[in-house]
Amino acid sequence: MAETVKLTIDGKEVVAPKGMNLIEAAKLVGIEVPHYCYHPKLTIAGNCRMCLVDTGMPKLDKDKKPELGPDGKPVIMFAPKLAIGCNTTVAEGMVVHTRTPKVQKAREGVMEFLLINHPLDCPICDQAGECRLQEFSVDYGKGESRFVEEKVHKPKQTKLNAKITLDDERCILCSRCIRFMKEVAGQDCLGFVNRGSYSTLTCYPGQEPKTNYDLNIVDICPVGALTQTDFRFEQRVWFLKETKSVCPNCSTGCNTVLWSREGVVYRQTPRDNDAVNQCWMCDYGRLNFKFINDPTRLTSPSVKSAVYGERVNLTWLEATRQITGKLKAAGTIAGIASGRATTEELFLFKKLVGDLVDIVPHTGEADGKLLQADRNPNTAGAKLTGCATGKLPEILEGIKAGKVKTLIVLGEDLDEELAKKLELLVVIDTLPTKATEHANYVLPGTTFAEKRGTFINGKNRLQRFNAAIPPVGIARPEWQTLTALLGASYAAIEDVFADMARTLPALAGLNLSKIGDLGVELKIEQPAVQPVSQAAEAVAK
């Protein structure tokens, strides 16, 4: 336990670890100290001056002991000037005022200064609704404008890079983006040019941000200066529903928020989780969600029919009846699952398919930060449920040799030649592929945005995500499809998880609500990350 000190903030006693600043210490007791430039994951700049607070220390007598006043309490000596909360650390006996008239006047002053040269173009600003200038104007501003001079004009709607639009007139020069690019993204490319009120955020010509983390500066920009170009004018943020989710694009499993409205996901942003991604996410993951709203999404179960032409839609009931019948008659059943499937789905898939099952590895280059080489979000889940076996080459060879005649595929593709060799191919997926083209039965699945479930990340952290939007057409979450094919009686995903927790020791005692929004670390003996079999990958291609 770190050493702590006791202090008083707005009359509330606070016990805070030594070295903590006053913004964080106030947060401990639910007091907001407004700020713009301070960011807990970046170095302190102290430039916005919004977090000014009144601080005092006990007056010490000759023996360096606190002098007591007539009321028996220590006499507090307040500093002549207000101090910035971000750069003032807690001290024993310190007394802090965050709401006195003196502090309020300072905040009103800072708010006014921040707004005098600001274009006040909220009606056409994408930040509106999530803008700190708006929020703190309401909470701490004067509510009137006294500025009648000509504003300073700066470049507007400039392309910082392909992903980000910069409006320098809205910029409040807090330097968060500069610090982020330098300190976190590792590219020292942003800076201020010119001086005084004419200071302007920019990058050197031809040296724009080009890391996989650039879009985080849009998140941390407290105002509308930096906006995500592909989200501009798409939606007003207050119309969007926020759903807690997990990024499905690699084994880190960055915690995210999906922003959706009327069945469409408009953006994905990182969600704080110090155990996983702090408050960042990579651009590759962030931007890779557009498939959710792909117009070619599979919307209905279907069967390949020689009689009626290429493909005939079925009801779920009919599809289930036909497939279960055929599966019963089949000999050896093989299964290829996806490492993007949820742990619950993989658990049921294993039950349905049996031993001849594996997942397909997907890899890329790790960037040493958040993006991992393993691009499957749930390799560890596949391993835990027994779906990651390394048998993929065996399965594929079996199909080639005609030994495997029945295959169920969950969210993966299959080579055309192999597909043609099968007698019964059932594919559960969200988008058309070679596999769905040749499948006897296609069962529409759901993306991570349309269902609930869990992933286990590369560090064996079990994380849950939620449904942001309804499935398309009559598609339904895969756990329901698998339940039907199994003839099982899980009424809700909680039931699947409960069964899983009974069966798998690593999940013993857990349930979906116990996982919480931040996940739990599982105790799994072996490293969960599946060694990528080069051979398997080659065959899969």
Binding site: A45, G46, R49, G109, I116, L173, R195, P205
Partner: protein
């Protein structure tokens, strides 16, 4: 783009003066601009490559310091000082003469050239011109046009001492034949204090300086010995001494004299202070607008190195600024010395703990350091015997504005009143005009109304009078001066010099300037008087560095003492 090998050798030598790659950025900008005439993308990228930096790091610097230009200027760059004393002495008239000069000329206004006693001042390229008149300007321009070259402008002769002065620091400069050379300085007993100091333990020198009770002469008046004693010890890092020669507080022009006329006195002070503080390297940060002073120092350092003074116990390097008042603030100076935009640092930590290059650092003013040899040589008791308690020793004051004998004077502190200084030493106001007010310590200090001139010139007395001794730059304002105009001029300075880092100063200083422009131009509203005060008050005490106060105090004081002038200006349209 090719860099001549001689220039690159010079650059390579400069780079060795610094422990970090980035610190020489300003020097390289100066050298490349001197050679190419401007700093375009090619130059910026060359510097970045040379110093293993990102181009943005260099570009940020180029655009921060007004002396650097991204576009080629005319062959003759005329820089007319527009700040208060020069403004009062008619710099506007000079500017009016400088229209349509042709492509060979670029005309700019600059902020205080630290020659207020010889206002109006101006520069053409590196030449400095005092006491300009429109007629003289016409002649200079005509000569340039005729010859196509710029004649050397001699440096003004030192001012003789007034009988009421007590010259210690300025004692040598008017001695017959004294040139400020090492030989001359030694002849007057120079470097004997260093010899004595080197026989003393560092603590002994620190104690002597502490006991002398000398307070910093830069503006804040912080006790020098105490500042030294704050230096972090046993950090495993080197200690640095920085001499603040960024004299740029409007009304102040004393350090210029100490550098130009007696550089070895300063060098000796630096070497002793290095010994006292354990610093092995000292940097003199001299403002960019003093190229002559920089050369004087570079030559003096070379002389002192040849004689074994410099380089034996400590190295001294000259670092040139490039036109930023904020570099006078010690942490802004440190950032600039590190090759960055001069953004003052948030404190704590203070430079004594984490300063230049992350090391314990002491920053002292030129005048403060020039006092050190005298304290070591003559002892703390001798020093303390001069001046009054709380304000020991002598102080250089600079007087500008419409007085008969403007200039720099050295007095025992507290032994002379403001009135004596203006009336007896400076011969009173020209043309028998009445005094309206006096700015006592550079334009950032609150103005004193005329009824308060009997205050003695020392730290405490001026503080009790509601103002501060500041940098010792005294500007006399007479009855014919429009206070609205003077306030505008001062506000324009601070808006121009605001670094732009923190909100209240960045936004507030320009707001005040714009408002004052409007008031002066007759587009004011009655509520502007109170609004102006409010804006100043919202800056005051809310900023990272004291520039906030420097910008707010004069406005508040002018409003407080001359409110009726503002009201008149604001009500005439209201």
């Amino acid at each position: 783009m090719t860099i001549p090998s001689e220039l690159e050798r010079h650059i390579d030598e400069i780079i060795t003066h610094y422990p970090t790659k980035r610190a020489p950025v300003l020097w390289l900008c100066h050298l490349l601009q001197d050679h190419f005439g401007f700093l375009g993308q090619e130059q910026v990228e060359w510097i970045a490559t040379k110093l293993s930096l990102q181009p943005i790091n260099v570009w940020e610097v180029v655009t921060f310091y007004p002396m650097f230009t991204q576009k080629l200027r005319g062959k003759f760059h005329i820089k007319v000082c527009r700040t208060l004393s020069c403004h009062l002495a008619g710099s506007q008239k000079l500017l009016e003469r400088l229209k349509d000069l042709g492509a060979d000329f670029t005309v700019d206004t600059v902020e205080c050239l630290a020659s207020c006693g010889t206002a109006p001042a101006m520069m053409i390229n590196d030449e400095h011109y005092d006491s300009m008149t429109p007629e003289r300007l016409d002649k200079i321009v005509a000569d340039i046009k005729r010859t196509g070259t710029l004649a050397k402008e001699p440096i003004a002769k030192p001012l003789p001492a007034h009988p009421l002065e007590k010259r210690v620091l300025l004692a040598n400069i008017t001695k017959p034949g004294y040139t400020g050379s090492l030989a001359d300085y030694e002849k007057e007993g120079g470097y004997q204090a260093l010899a004595k100091a080197l026989t003393m333990k560092p603590e002994e020198i620190v104690n002597e300086v502490k006991n002398s009770e000398i307070r910093g002469r830069g503006g804040a008046g912080f006790p020098c010995g105490l500042k030294w004693s704050f230096l972090a010890k046993n950090t495993g890092k080197p200690t640095y001494l920085v001499c603040n020669a960024d004299e740029s507080e409007p009304g102040t022009f004393k350090d210029r004299q100490l550098i130009n006329y007696d550089p070895h006195q300063l060098l000796e002070g630096i070497l002793i202070s290095c010994h006292a503080t354990g610093a092995k390297v000292a940097y003199i940060y001299i403002r960019g607008e003093m190229p002559h002073g920089a050369n004087v120092l570079i030559n003096a350092i070379a002389e002192a190195r040849a004689k074994g003074y410099v380089g034996k116990t400590a190295e001294i390097y000259v670092h040139r600024g490039a036109g930023a008042y904020i570099c006078g603030e010690e942490t802004g100076l440190i950032e600039s010395l590190e090759g960055k935009r001069a953004y003052p640092r948030i404190k704590p930590p203070f430079p004594a703990i984490v300063g230049l290059f992350g090391s314990p650092t002491v920053v002292n003013n030129v005048e403060t350091l020039s006092n050190i040899p005298h304290i070591v040589k003559n002892g703390a008791a001798w020093f303390k015997a001069m001046g009054v308690p709380g304000s020991t020793g002598t102080r250089l004051v600079c007087v500008s504005g419409p007085v008969k004998r403007p200039g720099y004077y050295e007095f025992e502190m507290g032994k002379l009143t403001m009135r004596q200084l203006i009336e007896d030493v400076c011969g009173g106001v020209t043309n028998g005009k009445k005094i309206k007010g006096v700015i006592p310590g550079g334009s950032s200090m609150p103005v004193m109304p005329a009824n308060n001139l009997d205050v003695p010139l020392d730290f405490e007395s001026l503080r009790k009078a509601g103002t501060m001794a500041g940098s010792g730059g005294i500007v006399v304002l007479t009855e014919d001066v429009s206070i609205v105009d003077a306030t505008l001029n001062v506000s324009q300075f601070y808006a121009h010099e605001s670094c732009g880092q923190c909100t209240p100063c960045r936004e507030g200083t320009l707001w005040m300037e714009k408002m004052l422009h409007r008031i002066k131009d007759g587009h004011s509203r009655p509520e502007d008087v109170d609004l102006l005060f409010e804006v100043a008050d919202n800056i005051d005490g809310k900023t990272i560095c004291p520039l906030g106060e420097a910008a707010a105090w004069p406005v508040k004081a002018f409003l407080k003492n001359y409110r009726s002038e503002f009201e008149k200006a604001c009500n005439k349209n209201g």
